[in-house]
Amino acid sequence: MSAAMRIVNGKVYDPANNIDGKIKEICIQDGRIVDSVPEDVTVIDAQGMVIMPGGVDIHCHIAGPKVNAARKLQPEDHRHDVHPGTPFTRSGTGGTVPSTFATGYRYATLGYTTAMEAAVTPIGARHTLEEFHDTPVIDKGFYVLLGENIFLQKLLSEKRIEEFDQAVAWWINATKAYTVKLVNPGGDEPWKGKKNSNVSDIDEKTDEGLTPRQIIEAFIKSVDKQGFPHPPHIHCNNLGHSGNYKTTLETMKTAGDMRAHIAHIQFHSYGGELGKDPISKAAEIVEYVDNHPNITCDVGQVMFGKSTIMTADAPLAYVLKGHTKGKWVNADTECESGCGILPFNYQEHIYMHTLQWAIGLEIFLMAKDPWRVILSTDHPNGGSFMNYPKLIKLLMDKAFRHEEMKRVNQRALENCSLRDLDREYTLNEIAIITRAGPARALGLNNKGHLGVGADADITIYDEIDDKEMMFNAPRYVIKSGNTIIGNHEFITDFIGKLLHITPEYDKKIEEVVQPFFESYYSIEFSNYAVDDSYLHDHEIIATGKA
């Protein structure tokens, strides 16, 4: 177990406890933050440094079959970015999709200590858990894709709502997931079955006789009823298409006053006519989010340079493949979702890419409530998570932002209001969008803050003017009370834990699900659920309404 420790003289940013840059002592014992520790414990002198809770990434793609397919697709990406081992840590490869070990260590070198894999097919849960076991330092969990599940859709179209709720809970338990993920609900199944068809409207009926709206509503209600710590994580229909902001608004309206999380909302904030160049509708989207405290979102900022498009939205990947004309992978067609992967490059001179970059920044800068507008690049879709420090600098440094704006497509800037936005994020607000906000949205009561009882996941940065440099190299990273990085060097290795939920369900539902498996699945029902031997160190987050 980790030793007791005291951190003194540092400026603490802990927005969840209303501490904004106050010099405060932090005491750690047994992996948690405590009131006081004995006098003779190890002391870290954080004079001139900034103390924040460890970062929490609410939406990224870091483990599982599709991530592995992306690794295999891009040997050229790894060859130029070798991640060497140290006496304490293992080696790996980098690029936009790093190997498991490199992923964990690289998150740590940015001061992040928790990350959530945002899309795993139920059948891929076993693989994901095995990769998690090899993803060091960070705590992690994943969202399971249930939106394209034929069996669940069948229950819905037959209006068997009670059984639907039970089946959702069963699937969550069977996969050890953290919450439900919906990706282009209603769109993937027709695309796989019929030549390049997709849904284009939230109220368009699919072959099952269901509309995307009905699917979304059913999941939001079900999760609300069962009180999952995090609401359904929704990737709306029409991602990336001009004019899709209407779909996004309708999706949010579908939630009523129930909680919903809209993933990478930047990709869903485009106006204009379908098939033509989009314009920014960030203002409309932000206004809705600001006025509806039941909605949380992560931005999915686009950063210029190499990225990897990796999505369960297979029809979208197919469209993009038509633009890049390069290699791509279409996977997971035979299971309860879809998947498309292709290498991508966001370029400053391209109208669309600049607009995407600008809309992301607009959403950050316009949002009145930073607690619900969370920092993400939808790693690796909008760019690697290694871009976070640069993104933070873009938000905190107006001059730098304007300097960058000179290098991008000027026509795109005319179709958005980025030039008029003068806001600069404060360190406190950065602590909200990277730590406190995502932890609250995820319902992780022990993360994202430094109050007594919280997990001792702490990052200590040198306070320097260049915020990119500052957030790129924390001086200390403490995970569960263990000093992982000390004076910029790894000084120990650590395997974080799995975060998952175990909602209650009636065992009778298995009798309903099983015949479907026996008729259609190529895997035995008894082999489908992931058993507990796949859990390494883990924590069950409580479900049920408070």
Binding site: L73, Q74, P75, E76, D77, R79, G326
Partner: protein, 270 residues
């Protein structure tokens, strides 16, 4: 006087010796050269465990011994001259940008992958992937010359972008596969599927070959630039017959599944 390296112990498992390169050895004294690190399997050992070093570096390095198991010699080399009297292992001259490498024996696979400039001469045969791109790369060789006096195996000049590859003997299958531009000259026979997926560039072959159906014959002609190329090859010690120097060529264009701007010139003389 050149720096001389003599292999005294044959490595049992591949030895990664990317430090054997003028760029890395210039301005080092003998002890420092002997202590350069090489990977023997997964162990890091000093160069002297395998090589006996003598002489003094003056821009030239001579290597002696059977280097079949020694990889990455002269990778990223940018100047100077290296002579290998013997066979050599994979990845010789990878990404080199200048200087000259001469191999008296045979070379293994991956001669000059993603090379940018300079010249590699192999007096014997070479393996697969001569002057190609590494897997996943969109561009292979981007400049310089690779001259192989003997035969080569498959995928010569894969995704090649610029430069010259000359094969004195026969080439394997997929010569110039997916090439973007550049020139490949084969003085012997080509294997099947030459130029598959090529966008631009020229493949010139001294013998008739069966081409893919996606190539179309456009004309017979005698391109004047070929004489210049052949003269250059003669100066490099390759034997060019008079009939080749003065004969017409069949021009085939393709690959029509790609841009259709590449050409394959096949000897049309008698």
């Amino acid at each position: 006087m050149p720096l001389k390296l003599k292999l005294h112990t044959k490595p049992e498992v591949p030895l990664e010796a990317d430090c054997v390169c003028p760029d890395r050895m210039q301005s080092l004294n003998m002890t420092e050269i002997e202590d350069l690190i090489v990977f023997h399997g997964n162990c890091q050992v000093p160069l002297k465990n395998f090589f006996e070093c003598s002489g003094e570096f003056d821009g030239e390095i001579d290597i002696e011994g059977d280097l079949v198991n020694v990889k990455h010699i002269a990778s990223t080399m940018s100047f100077g001259k290296m002579t290998v009297s013997g066979n050599v292992g994979v990845h010789i001259g990878a990404a080199m940008s200048g200087g000259e490498i001469i191999v008296e024996g045979d070379a293994s696979d991956w001669v000059g992958p993603e090379m940018l400039g300079g010249r590699i001469t192999i007096k014997g045969n070479a393996g697969h992937m001569v002057g190609s791109g590494y897997r996943g790369s969109t561009m292979g060789m981007q400049g310089g010359e690779i001259i192989v006096h003997g035969n080569v195996k498959n995928e010569t000049g894969h995704v090649m972008r610029r430069g010259l590859i000359v094969v004195g003997g026969d080439s394997g299958d997929f010569t110039g596969v997916n090439m973007l531009a550049g020139t490949i000259i084969v003085l012997g026979q080509m294997g099947i599927r030459a130029g598959a997926g090529m966008k631009r560039g020229s493949i010139i072959c001294q013998t008739k070959s069966e081409l893919l159906p996606t190539f179309t014959r456009s004309c017979d002609y005698q391109p004047s630039f070929l004489r210049h190329y052949f003269k250059h090859l003669e100066s490099l010690g390759l034997i060019i017959s008079d009939s080749l120097m003065n004969s017409p060529f069949e021009r085939w264009c393709g690959d029509s599944i790609e841009l259709n701007r590449g050409e394959i010139l096949l000897y049309a003389g008698k």
